[in-house]
Symmetry: C2
Subunit: 256 residues, 2 copies
């Protein structure tokens, strides 16, 4: 497979950096092609603004969706955005490696999504939730977390980790057509040796996930085209959910 | 009250810009002091990196939490961050005005949180979830949303809006001590006149929320100090939740 790794961490000599090195080596040894977008090293522009559309000189108020749709259609997105879109189209699978900051992705990664997932390319295409330009590709979040597994358990004080990541796994990745794999999670990331599972155990778990990247069943999110949603309201039809499903879980066909 | 408005939208001539103008006028006429952080106009630096800590010249790998704790303690955070922290300390209430992009806040606002909510100031203080430096202050998200109310209903395809905003309302605001009010939401934001409720109705609803900013009951999140959580695991003790609570809702004492 062709595999793109997107790294969002300011320090290459970090757990996140080490995991990316392991992934590149492991995936390479399995015969895959690997490319890396190291957002901090690339000094990725995190903010979408009018400067992203230098060819547009209208006096109209700036509208991100309208401008990005027009620039995508006319091939006038900025080169940095085009390069990332080209990498996405090249990839069969994408791994996002980042630390959980304030219960979501670092701003630099959020800004990569806002600029690269442009209108016409990733949204505003009439296709969403299981369909779209990323259809046929796989994606996996690989997330380091300062807190404990208890903090993010079903009753943990921070909320369940799968729910905290839902805006990414479902709203961003599945929305654009990716098959989203269960996330790879490392807890106690700042104190792995003293309180966590230890680095060697993390590496073992990660290598297992990398080796099964092609075969791991994705999260069974319901597609927009499945017929599970009322076509008028886009609400889930009554009675389809599993007995213990609730909230975000309603949108998963079969809970593990 | 002293009220800080944080605006994250690239175009001042927009619905978000109009809501900020209405808020400033309305709150002023009610006798409040208002200050504005217009992040795009300020060209806010969205990415936390080593450049944020110019006084630190160690050859050590860069660690955001360690560097920001040290810089906060020694008064060596950058001026832009210090100014925002000063505004937060001044404020009795903070309104965050932004469009929902990819089911969360724009990157520029996420980056404002990552840089301004520094270690020692907003986390790593031994206090969290209902306690901390923002204790006694109120906060409200005011969010414009492209989709319909159905999309974000309990069974809507995007997931319930309160759950999508939980990393902000609970994980960011309540975590640092704010009393978080129910969010002000505008659906069909790009087609208010044709499909939405229309601008005058939005203004009426918003003015009502502004007028009751001091008195609206906050979301009844459980505080870390409430005794509701097992002190060892920080998981919610069994049997405390309301009958229909689940997922993130477990952390709300009384569901509305």
């Amino acid at each position: 497979m062709n595999i793109l790794i997107v790294l969002a961490h300011p320090e290459r000599q970090s757990l996140n950096g080490a995991l990316v090195d392991i992934a590149a080596r492991e995936l390479g040894s399995l015969g895959h092609e690997v490319r890396l977008s190291d957002l901090y090293r690339m000094e990725w522009k995190a903010t979408v603004d009018r400067a992203d559309f230098p060819h547009q000189t209208t006096g109209e108020p700036f509208n991100v969706a309208a401008s990005s749709a027009q620039a995508y259609k006319s091939g006038e997105l900025t080169e940095d955005v085009k390069e990332e879109q080209e990498k996405l189209l090249w990839a069969d699978a994408v791994i996002f490696q980042f630390p959980l900051w304030w219960f979501s992705a670092p701003a630099i990664l959020k800004g990569w999504i806002e600029r690269v997932f442009s209108a016409g390319f990733a949204y505003g295409t009439g296709k969403s939730y299981g369909d779209g330009s990323m259809k046929g590709k796989r994606a996996m979040l690989s997330v380091t977390i300062g807190g404990t597994e208890h903090d993010y358990a079903a009753r943990g004080i921070c909320g369940p980790i799968e729910d905290l990541l839902f805006p990414l796994t479902h709203g961003t990745l599945f929305y654009t057509g990716f098959a989203t794999l269960p996330s790879f999670l490392v807890y106690n990331a700042d104190r792995l040796e003293d309180y966590g599972e230890g680095f060697p155990a993390v590496v073992d778990r990660f290598r297992e996930r990398l080796a099964t990247l092609e075969t791991t069943p994705p999260i069974a999110f319901r597609s927009a085209a499945s017929g599970d949603y009322d076509p008028k309201t886009r609400e889930l039809r009554p009675g389809l959910e599993e007995a213990h499903a609730h909230g975000f879980n309603l949108h998963i066909k079969k809970l593990s």
